[in-house]
Amino acid sequence: MKKALLLVLTIALAVLSACGNETATKDEPNNQAKEAEESKEVNLYTARHYDVDDQLYKKFEENTGIKVNVIKGEADELLERIKREGDASQADVFLTADAGRLFRAKDEGLLQSVTSDLLDEQVPENFQDDDQMWYGLTKRARVIVYNKETVKPEELSTYEALTDDKWKGRVLIRSSENIYNQSLLASFIETNGEEKAKDWAAGLVDNFARDPEGGDRDQAKAIAAGIGDVAIMNTYYLGQMLNSEDPEEVKVAESLGIFFPNQETTGTHVNVSGAGVVKSAKNKDNAIQLLEFLSSPEAQGQFAEANYEYPVNDSVEPTELLKSWGEFKEQDIPLSVLGDNNAKAILIFNEVGWK
C-alpha cells in the first residue's frame, strides 16, 4: 500500500507540473516565432485596466502584427514583481497611473531610456521623464469640487486657502493612503517647501468634515449629501459620474461645480498615467512602437476618453465634456519630483494625523 501513497504524491506532482506544461505549450508557438524571425509580440505589465485598452491593443496588433500580452495588476505589486524577476523578466513595457510610481520604477533601476522622434513629437517635454525613461500618456487634474448651492466659485481660490477657518468642518478628501493625495502633497513640498506643506496638511485635517473614507466618488456624494461643501478630487471621477448608468449618480454630479485652483499662483496639480520600457526588455523595438501607438493621434482620443482624462498629445482635442470645464493653468514642476517627495509626504501625513 506504500504504492498508493506514492500514487497520491505522483498525482499531486503531475497536476502541478501539468499546469506548468499547459502554459509552456501555450508559449511554444511564440518561442518558435521568436527564433524564426523578429519577435512578433510585446509583453505589457499594466496597472490600467479599462476595457477600451484591450481594443486598442487589438488595433495595435492589426496595424503592426505585434501581439500584446498583458498582465494587469496593481501598480506597486507589478513593480515589485518586475524587480524580483530582474534581468530575466519578460516584461517589456510598464504602464501605470501617477508619475510618483513611474518615478519609483525609474529610481529602482527598472526602466531604460529610449529615444524616438515620434515620441518626442507626440508627448510634450514636461510630460516626459528627464532621461526619457517614461512618457506620459494621459493627463488628469486634481481639482476642487463644490456644492453649487452653498458655495460660490468666487469664494474659492487656492488649495492653501482651504485651510482657512471659514472652511472648518466643510472639507472632504479621501485617505492619505491614496497615491493621488501623496502626489498632491509631494507637489506642495516642491512648490511651497516642506514646512509649509506640513502646515497645509495639518490645516486641512483641522477643517475635515469627517474622517477620510471611501474613494473620490464618495467625496462627491458626501457633498451632495450635505456632509461637507468642498472636496478635492480628480476630474475624471466627475466625468464617470456624469456618464454613469445610475441616474442618481448623474444627479449628484450635476449638482456639483468644478474649480481649478491656484490659477493666480502655482497652477492646478496635474498628474499623468504613463509608461516606460523595462530595462531588461527582450522586445525593445516593439515596446517603443507600442508607446508610439498609444501616444499617437489615432489612439490618444480613445485612450484618454475611456477615463475622461486629457490627452497628452497636443494635436488631439479633449472631449466636449472636458472642454466645457474650461482651460486652466497647470502646476509647472517636473513630475519626477512627485516621486522624489513621496516618502516625505507619507511621513507628514502620519505626523499630522491625516488618516
Binding site: 506504500k2 498508493a4 499546469c19 473614507e213 471611501g214 505626523e351
Partner: protein, 562 residues
C-alpha cells in the same frame, strides 16, 4: 455514544511503539512526505521570521511613534468585535438548527452558509452602494417619502461598518463548524441534560457552550485570521489597520524591511492566538466511540417561538445573502454587456480551474500532514502542522513576494535544464500557473487542514488501532478506514478552499501569468476604478458558483448518514 477521553495517550503510545517497530518503513514514507510538504509551506514564511531580527531603521521609529499604536488598536477592535459577533450569531443559529424543528429549518440549515459565498470586499462595496447617498435606501426615502434624513446615519464606511460587513460574511465559519459538531456529537449529553430536567437556557450555557468550545474556537480563529488579513474592506472604507501599515511602509516608503517587521509582529500575534487556542482546548478530546452517531432528536417549536426562530434565520440570511445578491443583480442588469460573453466564459473557466486544482492539492497535502500529526507523537509533530497555518495570517501581497522570490530562484536553479530542452528564456515556472497555484496552497492550506484535522480528531485513533492490530498496513488502513470516515471533512475542506480561491484577490493579481484573468481579478479591477456597478457581473458569478458549491456540498452531506 460519546466518550470523553482525558488520557487517550496511554493506549496509543503503547500501540504506537509497537507499530513503529513493526512497520518502521511505512511510518517513514508518511513522515518524509509530511515533512517535505510542511517545509515547502513554511519556507516562504522564513523570510518574514528573519525580519524580526533585522536592525530597525528610521521608518520603523517613525511608525512606532506616530501610527503603530492606532494600527494595533484598530486591528484589536476589529477582531474583538467581529469575533464576538460571529460567535454570537454563528453559535445561536447552529444551536437553533441543531436542536429545534421550525418552519423552513431544513432550508435554513444549508442556506445560512451561503453568505460565505460573498467575498467581504464585494459585500463592502455592495452595502456601501445600498447605503450611500445615491443608494437605494436614501434615494427611496428622499424621492419616495420626501424625507431627508441625516446621511451620517447611513454611513457605514467606518469601524462599526467594517465589523458589520465582516460579521455578516464570515459568521458561517463559526456556524457551519459548530452546527455539524452539535448535531453529530452532542446528542447523548444534551439528551441526558434534558432528561435531568434542565431547561433550554441552562442546557445552552452549561452543556452546549462547554462541549462545542473546540468547534467555536476553530471557527472563530478562522474569522479572526480572515479579518487580520483582509485588505479590500479596510482599504475601501479608509480604516487603517496593521495590514495598511505593511503596505504603506513597503510601497509608500519603499522600505520592505519595516514592512517585514510589521508582518513579523502580526505573525507573532497569530502564533499567540493559535497557542491560546491549543491551551484553551487543553487535553480534552471528544471522540466517537461507536460508528453509530445518532442525531439529536429535534424539539418542535410552536406559535410565536417558531415564528421568531424562522424570522431570526431569515433575517441573517437576508442581510448576509439575499439583499446583496438582489443589489448585484440590479447592477448587472444596468451594466450588462460591458464584458463580452466569450471573454466572460474564459474568466469563469480560469477561476474554476485554478480553484479546483488548488483545492485538490491542498486536501491531499492536508490528509498526509494530518495523518502524520496523528501518528507521530511528541510536541513537534503536533506543533509543526499548526505553524503551516501561518500562511493564513500573512497578507497576500507579502506571501506573493516570498513566492516570486522562491520561484525565480528555482528557475535560476533549473536554467541549465531549460537550455537543454531548448527553451530560450530563463523564466519558465515563474511565469506559469504553477507559481500562482503554489501561492494559493501556501495561503489556504490552513483552511483545508483545519477541516481535515478536525475530521481526524473526531474519528480518533481507535478504529485505526483496531485495524492495525488486525495486521492491516498503515497505508491500507488509511485508505480503507480513515478516508471513508473522513469523507465529510474532505468534502467540506475541498469546498471551503475552492470558494476561498475563487474569491482570492492580491495573490491572483500579482502572480498570474500573461493574459490570465479570473472572475475575481475582473471584479476587483472595476471596483478599484470605483466602477462598482460594472464589477457586479463578475461578482455575481463568483457568488453563484460558490453558492452552488455549498448547495452541492449539502446535498452530498444529506445522503451521508449524519
Amino acid at each position: 455514544m460519546l466518550r470523553v477521553k482525558r488520557n487517550k495517550g496511554f493506549l496509543v503510545e503503547e500501540l504506537g511503539c509497537w507499530t513503529v517497530q513493526r512497520k518502521l518503513s511505512n511510518v517513514n514514507a508518511w513522515t518524509v512526505s509530511a515533512v517535505i510538504i510542511m517545509a515547502l509551506l513554511f519556507l516562504p514564511n522564513l523570510t518574514i521570521v528573519s525580519g524580526i531580527f533585522s536592525p530597525s531603521n528610521d521608518n520603523w521609529a517613525h511608525m512606532k511613534e506616530f501610527v503603530l499604536g492606532s494600527f494595533i488598536k484598530t486591528s484589536l477592535i476589529l477582531i474583538g468585535a467581529t469575533g464576538f459577533l460571529t460567535i454570537a450569531i454563528g453559535l445561536s443559529l447552529a444551536w437553533l438548527i441543531a436542536q429545534y424543528q421550525f418552519p423552513l429549518r431544513n432550508f435554513l440549515k444549508w442556506a445560512l452558509v451561503l453568505p460565505l459565498s460573498i467575498p467581504p470586499f464585494i459585500g463592502a462595496y455592495t452595502y456601501h452602494g445600498i447605503f450611500n447617498y445615491t443608494g437605494v435606501i436614501q434615494t427611496t426615502l428622499r424621492d419616495g417619502f420626501g424625507k431627508d434624513l441625516n446621511p451620517a446615519y447611513f454611513d457605514i464606511m467606518n469601524i462599526p461598518g467594517a465589523v458589520f460587513i465582516y460579521t455578516l460574511f464570515l459568521y458561517p465559519y463559526v456556524y457551519s463548524i459548530t452546527r455539524i459538531f452539535l448535531s453529530q456529537q452532542s446528542a447523548s449529553l444534551i439528551e441526558s441534560a434534558r432528561m435531568l430536567g434542565k431547561g433550554p437556557v441552562n442546557i445552552f450555557f452549561q452543556v452546549v457552550i462547554p462541549i462545542s468550545r473546540v468547534a467555536i474556537i476553530g471557527g472563530s480563529s478562522l474569522v479572526v485570521l480572515e479579518v487580520l488579513n483582509d485588505y479590500g474592506v479596510v482599504k475601501y472604507y479608509g480604516i487603517q489597520t496593521f495590514t495598511t501599515g505593511i503596505f504603506q511602509s513597503w510601497f509608500g516608503l519603499g522600505d520592505i524591511e519595516t514592512s517585514i517587521k510589521l508582518a513579523a509582529s502580526l505573525m507573532g500575534f497569530v502564533i499567540f492566538i493559535l497557542m491560546a487556542e491549543k491551551l484553551l482546548r487543553g487535553r480534552r478530546q471528544y471522540n466517537y466511540s461507536t460508528t453509530k452517531v445518532r442525531p439529536l432528536p429535534l424539539i418542535r417549536l410552536k406559535g410565536w417561538k417558531a415564528f421568531m426562530a424562522t424570522g431570526y434565520g431569515l433575517l441573517i440570511l437576508s442581510l448576509g445573502f439575499l439583499i446583496p445578491v438582489v443589489q448585484l443583480i440590479d447592477w448587472t442588469i444596468l451594466t450588462f454587456g460591458t464584458i463580452p460573453t466569450e471573454e466572460f466564459l474564459i474568466y469563469v473557466k480560469n477561476s474554476v480551474t485554478v480553484a479546483g486544482i488548488s483545492a485538490t492539492v491542498i486536501i491531499i497535502f492536508a490528509l498526509i500532514v494530518g495523518n502524520f500529526s496523528r501518528l507521530v507523537h511528541g510536541k513537534a509533530a503536533k506543533l509543526l502542522p499548526k505553524l503551516t497555518i501561518l500562511g493564513y495570517s500573512i497578507p497576500g501581497a507579502v506571501i506573493a513576494v516570498a513566492v516570486v522570490t522562491a520561484f525565480i530562484g528555482l528557475d535560476g536553479f533549473l536554467a541549465p535544464l531549460y537550455r537543454l530542452l531548448g527553451v530560450d528564456h530563463t523564466l519558465v515556472l515563474s511565469v506559469s500557473l504553477a507559481m500562482l497555484i503554489s501561492a494559493y496552497i501556501i495561503r489556504f492550506f490552513a483552511i483545508g487542514y483545519n477541516s481535515i484535522e478536525s475530521g481526524y480528531d473526531k474519528i480518533g485513533t481507535d478504529f485505526r488501532d483496531a485495524s492495525r492490530l488486525l495486521g492491516v498496513g498503515l497505508t491500507k488502513t488509511f485508505f480503507r478506514i480513515d478516508v471513508p470516515m473522513l469523507k465529510g471533512a474532505i468534502v467540506s475542506g475541498f469546498i471551503l478552499v475552492f470558494i476561498d480561491v475563487l474569491k482570492e484577490i492580491p495573490l491572483t493579481l500579482i502572480l498570474r501569468p500573461f493574459n490570465f484573468d479570473t472572475l475575481s481579478t475582473k471584479a476587483f479591477q472595476y471596483a478599484s476604478d470605483e466602477k462598482i456597478m460594472e464589477a457586479s457581473q463578475a461578482s455575481l458569478v463568483i457568488v453563484g458558483i460558490s453558492a452552488l458549491a455549498i448547495v452541492v456540498f449539502y446535498k452530498f452531506l444529506e445522503k451521508e448518514p449524519e
